[in-house]
């Protein structure tokens, strides 16, 4: 896929999202990749919060707001309904946040993958419950300060490895992506739409409000996360993990941590510990 091949038409505009929001960019790119022939299920998350101010309807495609824990169940049901009606060409897509995937929605996701209906589950990961006021979630990384884990007693648990959890279900296709690499992400979405079965895409979406950086650095921070090794772009297919993008230069993780106020309190020893963990994962 090349930049000029992307649809010029906009299907998601004038949302109430913060300036520089990567989740809004993620929705825009997703609908561009799949086209108009798709329906969306959105649980309680930033996207439903910024899209559902009556009479504002920023989605130019059908979408429904679902209960927090039921995203994947709804996807499975809608997909089965379309199959019964003979409309298997319609893509059924879930746009869930990190809390709605890793904490609240994980049993529905597990059940839906087990059912085997065709759908795309997209988890956009901004590493906390952002729309309710930055509470920690299962995907908050070690060391981050949130409103429920403020700076002296910061988050002391590692980030949940959702990719390994979904891979353990023997899912046909799963991938990780980042909003800073839009073509890589859109290729993965198109690839997922061609798989006849449940698919899962985990996309890192930096949040200027929650992470504490100026809104114009959104793309740069995502790129830094990949280059420093805090985030990997991988694919899971036919029972094997594959790295889709290896950064040309590797940055020390301290550079990434220094850009955000949520990591401001970390001591040099703690940063060294994070770096050690990344180096161990890389080898």
């Amino acid at each position: 896929m090349k930049l000029k091949d992307i649809a010029k038409e906009e299907f998601y505009r004038a949302s109430y999202g913060c300036a520089g929001c990567a989740a809004v960019l993620m929705v825009r790119l997703t609908i561009k990749a799949l086209g108009k022939n798709s329906v969306y299920v959105v649980p309680a998350n930033c996207i439903s919060t910024v899209s559902c101010y009556y009479p504002q309807a920023p989605f130019f495609v059908p979408f429904t707001v679902m209960a927090f824990a039921a995203t994947a169940a709804a996807l499975s049901g809608i997909s089965a309904g379309f199959r019964r009606r003979g409309r298997e060409d319609i893509h059924v897509v879930g746009l869930s946040g990190d809390g709605g995937t890793a904490d609240i929605g994980i049993q529905a996701l597990s059940g839906a993958i087990d059912c085997g209906n065709k759908f795309i589950y997209i988890c956009y990961d901004n590493e906390a419950y952002m729309n309710t006021g930055i509470q920690r979630s299962g995907l908050t990384p070690y060391g981050a300060a949130t409103s429920t884990t403020p700076s002296p007693c910061f988050e002391n648990r590692p980030k949940k490895d959702m990719m390994r959890i979904v891979a353990a279900h023997d899912i046909p296709y799963a991938a990780t992506a980042c909003t800073s690499y839009p073509l890589d992400y859109m290729e993965k979405v198109v690839k997922a739409s061609q798989v006849n079965g449940p698919t899962y895409i985990h996309i890192l979406a930096p949040c200027p409000t929650g992470w504490g950086f100026p809104p114009d650095e959104t793309i740069e921070i995502g790129r830094m996360a990949v280059e420093s090794g805090m985030w990997h772009l991988t694919e899971f297919e036919n029972g094997e993990f594959r790295t889709t993008y290896t950064p040309k230069r590797q940055r020390p993780v301290s550079e990434y941590l220094a850009t955000q106020t949520r990591f401001r309190h970390l001591s040099p020893e703690q940063i060294a510990a994070i770096q050690k963990e990344i180096d161990a994962a890389r080898d």
């Binding site: 520089g20 009479p55 309807a57």
Partner: protein
């Protein structure tokens, strides 16, 4: 096939956008330097506020949608876009 029931109450079609977010911005991007038509600004704009002209490939900004985040300024490889502070109401 059975006729589908209509939904009671007022209904808005998908894509109804009576409110535009352009009033949020405190600064607006202006194309000043040499544009190479790479479209990086267009693909990274979260709002889809950057429009490319079909005929002469020129990039223009839709200030009805632009929230003034400045991603286009940061991501432009030739640094052709600049942020201009806005004074008072537009």
């Amino acid at each position: 096939m059975k006729k589908e029931k209509s939904i009671p109450g007022p209904v808005q079609k998908a894509g109804t956008i009576p409110t535009r977010m352009g009033s949020w911005s405190t600064a607006k991007p202006v194309l000043k330097g040499k544009c190479t038509f790479c479209l990086f600004c267009w693909v990274f704009c979260p709002e889809g506020a950057i429009v490319q002209d079909e005929a002469n490939r020129k990039v223009t900004f839709n200030f009805e949608d632009c929230k003034g985040c400045g991603i286009c300024v940061r991501e432009c490889p030739t640094k052709a876009i600049e942020m201009v502070e806005q004074q008072g109401d537009k």
